[in-house]
């Protein structure tokens, strides 16, 4: 009895010594390791038996948790580049297990396009989803947006928006399709798209991401409106954003990503951040004093 109690006490003591370095090790474990690798989908299907939907959902949640963790770190000024490749692999695996899982499509759309710039990959995934989620207007809405905004394929965009409009019964998609056909108001459309996305978003990390981007696009739009007004009044395109501010057409715009707005040679409004914190970092590496305005 005494021997057993002593052994238990020793074990508890050893546990106390071990648990702190053990927890620290797990906490600091590289993200790639934490996100893990998906075995072949065929193998997963076999092991999952009749719980394929559960396994798919758990893969999506794993990616969401991982991404949320990174966002929290970014809030604390710790920049850890997300492992987009693993995220994409996990989400592709999850839709093979459960082709109806909307979270997977939605999240893949959010980072494959804006962050990874894999528009074709995102569209292929969404096209795959459309075969199953035949009632869902979001998927054609996403593809429509990708085609128009990123790929500049307005004919395809209009086709997908038409489909989204038919499914949703809303005129918004048809309206967007019409505008895309005219290739005008890109910023307005991005704002409309991001507002729709942000409104229904429940995941705080993703919502914050959208809000930030939305803020940047609204500022861009403000500069565009001022630029157009300047042209109307002065009969010529402004050369710099400073001209707009000093002429009283615009209060100083603020890029939430930390960049500075400038006008390109054709008058297009751009920002040095390229709508990403990484853009500002790259810029800071450049020589001080380099002019932002490019003509």
């Amino acid at each position: 009895m005494i021997k057993s109690a002593s052994a238990a006490l020793v074990c508890l003591f050893l546990y106390g010594i071990l648990i702190i370095p053990f927890t620290t090790y797990l906490h600091k474990k590289p993200f790639v390791e934490k996100l893990g690798y998906v075995p072949s989908v065929t193998a997963l299907k076999t092991v999952a038996a009749d719980h394929k939907e559960l396994v798919a959902a758990s893969l999506v949640l794993k990616v969401l948790m991982y991404f949320g963790g990174l966002f929290e770190k970014a809030d604390n000024q710790v920049a850890v580049p997300p492992d987009y490749m693993s995220m994409s692999r996990l989400l592709h695996g999850s839709v093979k297990l459960d082709p109806y899982n909307m979270d997977a499509y939605y999240f893949a759309q959010s980072f494959l396009t804006w962050d990874v710039k894999q528009y074709k990959l995102a569209n292929d995934l969404l096209d795959y989803g459309m075969k199953y989620r035949t009632w869902d207007w979001y998927l054609p809405f996403f593809v429509g947006f990708n085609n128009a905004f990123f790929l500049k394929d307005y004919a395809s965009a209009a086709r997908y928006y038409q489909r989204a409009g038919e499914l949703s019964g809303s005129d918004l998609s048809r309206l967007l399709a019409g505008r895309y056909m005219q290739e005008s108001g890109q910023t307005d459309l991005a704002i409309a798209y991001l507002t729709a996305m942000e409104k229904k978003e429940r995941n705080q990390a993703v919502k914050n991401n959208y809000q930030l981007r939305l803020k940047a696009f609204r500022e861009t739009r403000r500069v565009e409106v001022a630029r157009d007004r300047y042209r109307e009044v002065r009969g010529a395109m402004p050369a710099t954003v400073v001209q707009l501010v000093s002429g009283g057409f615009l209060s100083p715009p603020r890029d939430p990503y930390g960049g500075q707005f400038y006008l390109e040679a054709d008058g297009k409004v751009a920002t040095t951040s390229k709508y990403a914190f990484a853009g500002v970092k790259n810029l800071s590496k450049q020589k001080a004093g380099e002019p932002y305005e490019r003509h």
């Binding site: 065929t42 076999t46 009749d50 939907e53 559960l54 959902a57 969401l64 909307m102 989620r133 869902d136």
Partner: protein, 263 residues
């Protein structure tokens, strides 16, 4: 036989299996919280989790109740006293099976109500894009229960000739895993991608497909989760398949058990 069914049910309740299930069912309370992590399909995720939990509990019940019921009776020598009564071995086996199957059905009903409660709560807080079809959900749970009753029949067949509980327990688990993928294997060997496979392998795989139970047919989770319609003829065929397959398994089990030498 009805007496054996009643005794089996009483025995299961006496062993506090139902209380164990009720304790496990407390996990249902955590589901709305976990489901709220989803971005776009909270209700669908709560359905996925509820149905998977229900299915997992029934799997455990089928494996452990189905595979140990006969073995326990023989090991404790209950069979000597029971079979001394004017009761055929076949009736005894079928009674034991009936009692276990009834318990699984009862569990499915009780846990199904709990699952509906969880899903109703989640959908009231996070309304889904598509309305929940409660009838489809009920059918999904019913077909899940039928699948596990079929698995119990497999366990009884293995128990009818096994002298230890290892074969029934592990054999039932192996049958469950194999039965879940037979349809995928069948689809694969009949697709152009399997052209490189040897004809012998294809024939063996096809033979196993017809021999092993096809549990894929009973899986209607995706229909319940995403409110997809279930074809009526598919349901009819599946129920017919269930009746015929369980009939074959129980006939074989009864035939083997009646000739078994009791020691």
């Amino acid at each position: 036989m009805s007496t054996i069914i009643k005794i089996t049910l009483k025995g299961i309740f006496r062993d506090r299996v139902f209380q164990g299930i009720m304790v496990t069912a407390c996990v249902f309370l955590l589901i709305p919280g976990i489901a709220s992590l989803s971005m776009r399909q909270v209700t669908e995720l709560s359905l996925t989790l509820s149905l998977s939990l229900l299915s997992f509990i029934m799997l455990l019940l089928s494996v452990f109740l189905g595979a140990t019921s006969l073995w326990k009776d023989i090991e404790r020598r209950y069979t000597f006293s029971v079979l001394g009564l004017p009761l055929s071995r076949q009736s005894y086996l079928l009674g034991r099976f009936g009692g276990t199957a009834l318990f699984v059905l009862l569990t499915a009903a009780v846990l199904g109500i709990a699952a509906c409660g969880v899903v109703a709560y989640t959908s009231s807080v996070y309304p889904p894009d598509r309305p929940i079809v409660w009838g489809t959900m009920a059918l999904c749970i019913l077909f899940d229960a039928l699948k596990y009753i079929l698995l119990i029949a497999v366990a009884f067949l293995l128990s009818s000739f096994s002298t230890s509980f290892f074969l029934p327990v592990f054999g039932t688990i192996a049958t469950f895993l194999a039965g879940g993928v037979t349809q995928q294997v069948y689809d694969y060997i009949h697709s152009p991608t399997s052209q490189k496979l040897s004809p012998v392998v294809k024939q063996i795989a096809t033979g196993l497909y017809y021999l092993l139970p096809n549990f894929g047919a009973f899986d209607m989770k995706v229909n319940a989760i995403y409110s997809l319609p279930i074809p009526a003829n598919g349901m009819l065929l599946t129920v017919s398949y269930f009746l015929v397959y369980v009939g074959i398994l129980l006939s074989l089990a009864a035939a083997i058990f009646s000739r078994r030498e009791m020691r």
